[in-house]
């Protein structure tokens, strides 16, 4: 697929949702990846896991119906779907670490060509570090998808030969969704699967990471 314009955040979320197999157990972390939930087909039976101890989490609670005993990883009030299950934190993270989750979708500051992920700390001396469940998800889920902008605000690429920010996990990222392209990271290197409003050649020019043209395009 090659589009003439970069994807919006909604289009990126829809693309991720399309790539999740029906019936998968999925963790969407916090922030932008949680938008993926809005684009999942209810008939596909994807079960959402939230790190604070729930499977089959439903959408955000309507205003006026918030239950503060029922929140998501971002501590926002949510709902339960029929067939939901609650469990404590050690079980919740055993599910991740034990390889039971099919997919997690995370944001990132940087991803390296080898699939290293940096998404918890800028390393700035005055920054207060916070890691939450990111390291557990990164090494635990069977497939780790990243959703991020391809370039930082200063224009530097976030898909890099090696991460300059402190790592969250080593060699853990399988696929990167950006507004300009989808990249598959595998043993052979970084494969460009699709591009949006740019070309393979333009990406190869702007990124320092060696790229491989995907078999089915672009």
């Amino acid at each position: 697929m090659t589009l003439s314009t970069p994807l919006t955040k909604q289009e990126m979320a829809a693309l991720v949702a399309r790539d999740i197999e029906p019936g998968s157990f999925v963790n969407l972390g916090i922030g932008q990846p949680t938008m993926v939930a809005d684009f999942l087909d209810p008939a596909a039976g994807v079960v959402l896991h939230t790190e604070n101890g729930m499977l089959n989490m439903g959408p955000a609670a309507p205003e006026g119906e918030e239950d503060w005993d029922l929140t998501n990883a971002g501590k926002e009030p949510v709902t339960e779907l029929p067939g939901a299950a609650y469990f404590h934190h050690a079980d919740s993270f055993a599910m991740m670490r034990g390889g039971h989750l099919d997919v997690c979708v995370l944001g990132a500051f940087q991803v390296s060509a080898a699939g290293d992920l940096a998404n918890w700390h800028t390393g700035a001396v005055d920054a207060i570090p916070a890691v939450g469940g990111a390291m557990d998800l990164a090494i635990g889920a069977k497939s780790v998808f990243v959703m991020m902008s391809l370039f930082a605000k200063d224009g530097t690429p976030k898909l890099v030969p090696s991460c300059s920010y402190p790592l969250t996990g080593v060699g853990c990222v399988d696929r990167v969704y950006t507004e300009h392209a989808v990249f598959e990271i595998g043993p052979e290197g970084v494969v460009v699967r699709e591009t949006f409003g740019t070309s393979y050649d333009e990406l190869a020019e702007r990124l320092e990471v060696p790229l491989i043209r995907g078999a089915s395009g672009p």
Binding site: T50, E51, N52, G53, M54, D67, W68, D69, L70, T71, N72, K75, E80, Y86, F87, H88, H89, A90, S92, F93, A94, M96, R97, D116, H121, D126, I128, P129, A130, V131, G132, G133, A134, M135, D136, I139, G140, P166, L167, T168, G169, V170
Partner: protein
């Protein structure tokens, strides 16, 4: 019939935390405010124990609960996974002034290290954090081709847990995602104090639904 003590009076929370010593390690349940034992924390603030090491997923929200304990200067060290939030201004200020120490622990390791303490495990090899700054200086081992980091238990002198309901045996049930760290912390401290919204008679909880059996629970306060 049971070793669990019940504190039913209006000052029950104060009586239940009366013997918390200065310098204690206090495990405090809750994920943000869900499951946070606010009334027990308020009682601990009135009680005055200081130099505390507090274990919680976060480092306080707004100005209540754990944030209020921090604001009073009673906490020497916070062990948590996610201190920085949009409403963590109390911790942020103390941390930047160097008035509180932070041990940052990946969330699953935080839970599992307490689980290990409660289960009598001496240490465990864990894949989380390998190759990151949070594993620096820690022993590693390759097992079946994968690298693991050695992680040690976190034990509490006291655990303050927010549950939903107790029976007069001291069995606990929780409600929805407010369960979070409560069941794990209840296994990992010398003295476990639970606050609940309701105490029911023995037989009033379905034994199949009990999450924290009474063997772990020392004190129950109805709030």
């Amino acid at each position: 019939m049971t070793k669990t003590r019940f504190y039913d009076s209006d000052t029950g929370a104060d009586e239940a935390v009366a013997d918390v010593a200065d310098g204690s390690t206090v495990l405090i349940g809750g994920f943000g405010l869900a499951g946070m034992p606010i009334e027990l924390i308020d009682a601990l603030i009135r009680q005055g124990a200081s130099g505390l090491t507090v274990v919680n997923n976060n480092a306080g929200n707004g100005d209540t609960g754990l944030a209020a304990l921090l604001a009073k200067g009673r906490v020497r060290k916070v062990i948590c996974s996610f201190p920085r939030q949009k409403d963590s201004w109390v911790f942020d200020g103390l941390y930047r002034e160097g008035k509180v120490e932070l041990e940052l622990v990946p969330q699953g390791n935080l839970a599992e290290r307490m689980r290990a303490a409660g289960a009598g495990i001496g240490a465990f090899f864990c894949p989380t954090g390998v190759g990151t700054p949070l594993a620096e200086g820690k022993e590693t081992r390759e097992i079946d081709g994968r690298t693991y980091v050695l992680e040690y238990p976190i034990r509490g002198d006291v655990a303050l847990v927010g549950a939903h309901r107790a029976d007069r045996m001291g069995n606990l049930v929780y409600r929805k995602t407010a369960r979070n760290f409560g069941p794990v912390m209840a296994t990992a401290a010398t003295t476990v104090i639970a606050q609940v919204r309701e105490v029911v008679d023995v037989g009033g909880l379905d034994p199949e639904a009990v999450v924290t059996p009474s063997i772990y629970v020392d004190r129950v306060v109805a709030v």
